[in-house]
């Protein structure tokens, strides 16, 4: 696949690099943003106001998202990532700002080409409220 860039339908998104803690660039496709836009509120507001904060100030970043045998998670930067954070706000069905949902974290999923392809709320772990449910079993390794 060609490297994502604006010319072939991707926008840049700043994030923290889980391998060195410095800034790096992720990508988000116009195609996905188009679907988000078609869904209206609150999807649009979550994407606009929550996603970026999770990528820049995550509480944890996991590597080895899939448990398929064809994902080789031992090859350096290859492997899919999951950013996990605690948003300061949430949005209701009408796109109105409200307090974050209780006992939930926000996850953003990144593929091996550094494309952010999905993001959503999930219940937090009963063991650790800043981690997603099942975090010990569903990810190969915690990087941050």
């Amino acid at each position: 696949m060609a490297k994502p860039d604006k010319r072939n339908g991707y926008y840049n998104l700043e994030a923290v690099n889980p391998f060195d803690g410095k800034p790096w660039t992720l990508f988000i496709s116009r195609d996905r943003l188009g679907w988000i836009a078609k869904r209206g509120e609150p999807a649009v507001s979550e994407t606009a106001y929550i996603l970026k904060g999770i990528l820049l100030r995550p509480r944890a970043i996991f590597k080895g998202l899939r448990r398929d045998e064809d994902e080789d998670t031992e090859k350096g930067d290859n492997g899919w990532l999951a950013y996990c954070g605690l948003p300061e706000i949430a949005f209701d069905g009408k796109g109105q700002r409200r307090k974050p949902f209780v006992n939930q974290v926000y996850l953003a999923f990144v593929n091996e080409d550094r494309v952010v392809y999905n993001w959503r709320w999930e219940k937090c772990s009963s063991e650790n409220p800043i981690m997603p449910m099942g975090f010990k079993d569903r990810f190969k390794r915690q990087l941050l």
Partner: protein
């Protein structure tokens, strides 16, 4: 503190792409190789069912309002070996999303646990009216 000024740039892009929302809606994401459907604009949280499927529940209603299935390319590829006409059906146009979840349920080597099977059934019912174009699935990754 949230820098809304910076976030407005992303909001501008989204506003430029905005269309009148219609539900149910479904979308195959080529970058994530995942297929999602939603029956409602309601904010939701996701709950994993198994390694393939995540269910979406409305934050206010707690109803099942959608789901996501990942590894679609591999799933369709392996099923196409048993069902050669599957790729033709996909190419023909919008694909009923529930069918894919049904195929996923039956794709495992062993029978799923009862609660997993029941959840899949609910997903399939919820996805009854959701269709997605899977043309990207037939493109090279």
């Amino acid at each position: 503190m949230i820098d809304f000024t910076e976030n407005e740039k992303l909001k501008e892009i989204l506003e430029a792409l905005r269309e009148e929302p219609t539900f149910p809606t479904a979308h195959y994401d080529r970058d994530g190789d995942c297929l999602e459907f939603l029956n409602s604009p309601e904010a939701y949280w996701g709950e994993r069912v198994d390694n393939l499927v995540t269910v979406y529940y409305g934050q206010e209603s707690s109803d099942m309002i959608g789901a996501c299935i990942k590894g679609v390319r591999k799933l369709v590829g392996s099923l196409s070996q048993k069902l050669p006409t599957l790729s033709i059906v996909i190419k023909d146009g919008p694909f009923h999303v529930g069918v894919l979840f049904g195929l996923a349920l039956s794709s495992g080597e062993k029978a799923p646990a009862e609660h997993v099977r029941l959840t899949y059934r609910k997903i399939i019912e919820a996805a009854a009216n959701a269709q997605a174009n899977l043309d990207d699935l037939l493109l090279q990754p």
